[in-house]
């Protein structure tokens, strides 16, 4: 749906984005991940046409973005706020109308949202009377109220407590299920890995990795499994033979948990066939690398000298 082609942006001597390209597929949740200062917000500002790229272009459905496209999309900026002295309802209406919504329609939909999220009595409150989390909820509602086809959420979970973060997470999934294309940007990679279908990892102005989460996981798979069984660990290790390597193991109340790394060319089936005679299997699970781990590996592969010195958290 959205493709970014070779975008370069400089601020004076500082290069904010250096030849960044990525594709956001339609109807998917796309994660734009990277540490603070990697260039995520700059890229988003170029997509939303707040600033222009020095070179490169942004295409929406194959044609260059226009102001009308930007006005039609939903955008929740990282640095966000509301007029403190304005009433909640009035302000939400104002923002909806700026998005081109009709006043009656906006009122109707707002009431629905307020009811669904149990914010009914907030309508005539001033924003300054709300807590930060409450204001964030209002902000989220105003972002998606006009039912945009394309939604950009920059650090959507910042400012929410875990309960409301879960509310937002559910809402994002619901929107994706109705066909909305969503671009999520965050430095907190762990918080979104279950949400995203596709991701792009940005570090120091470059895309270091992009693609579907499934593919990337496969690509960065460690081929390591966690096997639970009843039996002798030593016998299990011997039975593995050349199919796998026992990384470590724990025994508790007669149950052994072993971490097994497949050796070159071996499959999980080989391992199971070899070990079944000596172990009574209880459970089996692949050890999936976390997005943060993948990021660090991807960065260090690209820049072996730096070894991800710039990652946060």
């Amino acid at each position: 749906m959205l493709s970014v082609e070779n975008v370069v942006k400089r601020f004076g001597d500082h290069v904010a984005l250096d030849g960044v390209s990525m594709d956001v597929p339609k109807g998917k949740i796309f994660g734009l991940l990277g540490p603070n200062g990697a260039g995520k917000t700059t890229l988003i500002r170029i997509i939303t046409r707040i600033t222009g790229p020095d070179s490169g272009r942004v295409l929406l459905n194959g044609r260059p973005m226009t102001d009308a496209d930007v006005a039609a999309m939903g955008y929740l900026p990282e640095e966000r706020g509301l007029y403190k002295k304005m009433k909640v309802g009035e302000q939400a209406l104002y923002l909806a109308q700026l998005k081109g919504m009709d006043k009656q329609e906006a009122t109707k939909r707002l009431k629905e949202w307020f009811e669904r999220w149990e914010m009914g009595n907030w309508w005539n409150k001033k924003v300054e009377e709300l807590s930060k989390g409450m204001a964030q909820k209002v902000q989220f509602v105003t972002t998606v109220l006009h039912q945009p086809e394309f939604l950009i959420l920059d650090e959507p979970f910042s400012g929410f407590d875990p309960i409301n973060a879960e509310l937002i997470r559910t809402e994002i999934l619901r929107l994706a299920a109705t066909g909305t294309t969503i671009m999520l940007s965050t430095h907190n990679m762990g918080s979104v890995e279950e949400l995203c279908d596709h991701i792009a990892l940005i570090d120091r102005n470059h895309v270091v990795l992009s693609g579907s989460v499934k593919q990337i996981r496969q690509q960065y798979s460690t081929n390591t499994y966690r096997v639970e069984f009843k039996g002798q660990a030593v016998a299990f290790a011997n039975a593995l033979a050349y199919h796998g390597e026992l990384l470590d193991h724990q025994e508790e109340e007669g149950i052994c948990t072993a971490r097994v790394k497949l050796l070159h060319g071996a499959t999980l089936n080989n391992v199971l066939a070899a070990t079944l005679p000596v172990a009574q299997m209880i459970g089996l699970r692949e050890e999936v690398p976390g997005m943060h781990e993948i990021f660090i590996r991807a960065v260090s592969e690209k820049n072996p000298d730096l070894v991800a010195a710039g990652t946060t958290e």
């Binding site: 601020f11 004076g12 500002r45 939303t48 707040i50 600033t51 222009g52 020095d54 102001d67 930007v70 006005a71 999309m73 955008y75 929740l76 900026p77 990282e78 640095e79 966000r80 706020g81 509301l82 007029y83 403190k84 002295k85 304005m86 104002y94 923002l95 109308q97 700026l98 998005k99 081109g100 902000q139 105003t142 972002t143």
Partner: protein, 445 residues
């Protein structure tokens, strides 16, 4: 276009609904009219009866000075010592030296400075007596003197306007008043634009808004919305002032006429006395009638419609020019304290304008006035003086140039401010320098 209307409306209504707007709207004219009424009222009330002792060694004045309701004279042949005067019930001591007929000088010692009214009264009374005395000494017949005595009045006529007196000075003051209004409006509402921009930036609302509207729309919406608040307030002030003024003047008039009644009885006796020994008498009533006549003459003489239209033009032109600069300032800084370095270059031309406009009142043809009425940063204030005196209409080319330059400049400053605004509103935590601002102008949009 629909979006900019929405922005204008929000800027307008959120301000117009504030209690402070209502309070200022009501208080403004109340303060204005109340102040005027108070001044007239206090001006009429003298602080009780003034007992004035006249030290008259030569016995020239003793018992010859006319007393009024509030001013009583007492006479002493010998000087009072300082301590004696301090202890006395007299509020002022007039010392008349024996040579007063030659040097025309008296000294007044006072406990509380006598008001101008009291001073004038004393001076007038003593003058009368001394004149009578001089006439007697010089053996001049008072009737002859009355014929000789000359009170010259100057009537000014502009050769371009045959048969009409010109009142350029008064008109110039009127023009200065208009200029001052423009000056006041620009500062008051320009600062509001600046604060509004800063508020949006500090709240980060602007981040949310600029995906819906262009920064330039946002800036113009704010500028126009605030201008509407200002115009509404002015309009309400004018209406309220007129209403209150009518009521207030009615009140003042009845108060004055009450006081005047007392004065007239006294004045008729005074008049008789004056008629005898003094040539010209000008009554207050005569003066008031003349003032009214002047006001009417000025009104008839002024091209009122043209002046009002030009006032609105310079008013809006000046406001647009400066408010865009204020908006840019608000966008460039993070907090009110950082505004100082950028405010100075905005403030200085305005101060210069008001100073030059003051000189223009006395000399609307001077070269400084000419140049500053052309330069767009000062022209809205300075040109108003030239317009009111009619000077600007006599030089239509200069007026046209000034207007054209003002339009061109506000288009330019708005463009310039738009560039700074666009970058500035999204820039946080950076101490902005002039060099930095320069760079922003050339960032690719």
């Amino acid at each position: 276009m629909g979006k900019i209307k929405l922005i204008i409306w929000r800027e307008f209504i959120t301000r117009a609904r504030k209690p402070s707007f209502l309070i200022m709207t009501i208080l403004g004219p109340l303060l204005l009219v109340g102040g005027m009424v108070l001044v007239t009222f206090l001006g009429m009330q003298e602080g009780g009866i003034q007992n004035i002792v006249v030290v008259d060694k030569a016995h020239l004045l003793t018992n010859k000075l006319q007393e009024s309701n509030d001013i009583k004279f007492f006479y002493e042949p010998d000087e009072l010592s300082d301590s004696a005067f301090k202890a006395s019930p007299y509020s002022a001591m007039v010392e008349v030296n024996p040579l007063v007929l030659e040097n025309n000088t008296i000294q007044i010692f006072y406990k509380d400075l006598p008001s101008m009214t009291v001073q004038n009264y004393i001076s007038r009374e003593i003058e009368k007596v001394l004149e009578t005395e001089k006439l007697r000494v010089n053996n001049v017949d008072p009737a002859t003197y009355r014929r000789i005595k000359t009170a010259l009045k100057i009537q000014l006529f502009d050769i371009e306007k045959q048969g009409k007196q010109s009142y350029d000075q008064i008109k110039a003051f009127l023009g200065f008043g208009f200029g001052y209004l423009i000056f006041f409006f620009i500062f008051m509402y320009g600062a509001q634009v600046m604060r509004g921009v800063m508020e949006e930036k500090q709240n980060r609302v602007v981040e949310v808004l600029i995906s819906s509207v262009k920064p330039f729309q946002l800036m113009m919406g704010k500028i126009v919305g605030v201008a509407m608040v200002g115009l509404t307030q002015f309009l309400l002030w004018v209406v309220l002032t007129l209403v209150l003024g009518t009521v207030g003047m009615g009140f003042a008039k009845s108060a004055i006429s009450g006081a005047a009644m007392q004065q007239t009885t006294q004045m008729t006796t005074q008049l008789q006395a004056q008629m005898d020994d003094q040539g010209t008498v000008q009554s207050d009533a005569g003066e008031a009638a003349e003032m009214l006549g002047v006001a009417k003459a000025i009104w008839d003489d002024l091209p009122v419609t043209a002046i009002l239209l030009l006032f609105v033009f310079y008013f809006l032109g000046g406001y647009l020019l400066y408010s865009s600069l204020f908006a840019a300032t608000g966008a460039a800084v993070d907090s009110e304290t950082d505004t100082q370095q950028f405010m100075l270059p905005i403030t200085i031309p305005m101060i210069i304008a008001i100073v030059i406009a003051q000189t223009a009142v006395y000399n609307p043809d001077g070269p400084a006035v000419f140049w500053f009425s052309i330069i767009p940063f000062t022209s809205p204030v300075v040109m108003m003086v030239r317009i009111a005196t009619g000077n600007a209409f006599a030089h239509p080319a200069e007026l046209a140039l000034s207007m054209a330059l003002l339009i061109a400049t506000f288009l330019f400053t708005t463009w310039l401010a738009g560039r700074i605004y666009r970058t500035g509103i999204l820039m946080y935590g950076k101490k902005v320098t002039w060099k930095e601002l320069g760079k922003w102008l050339f960032y690719k949009g």
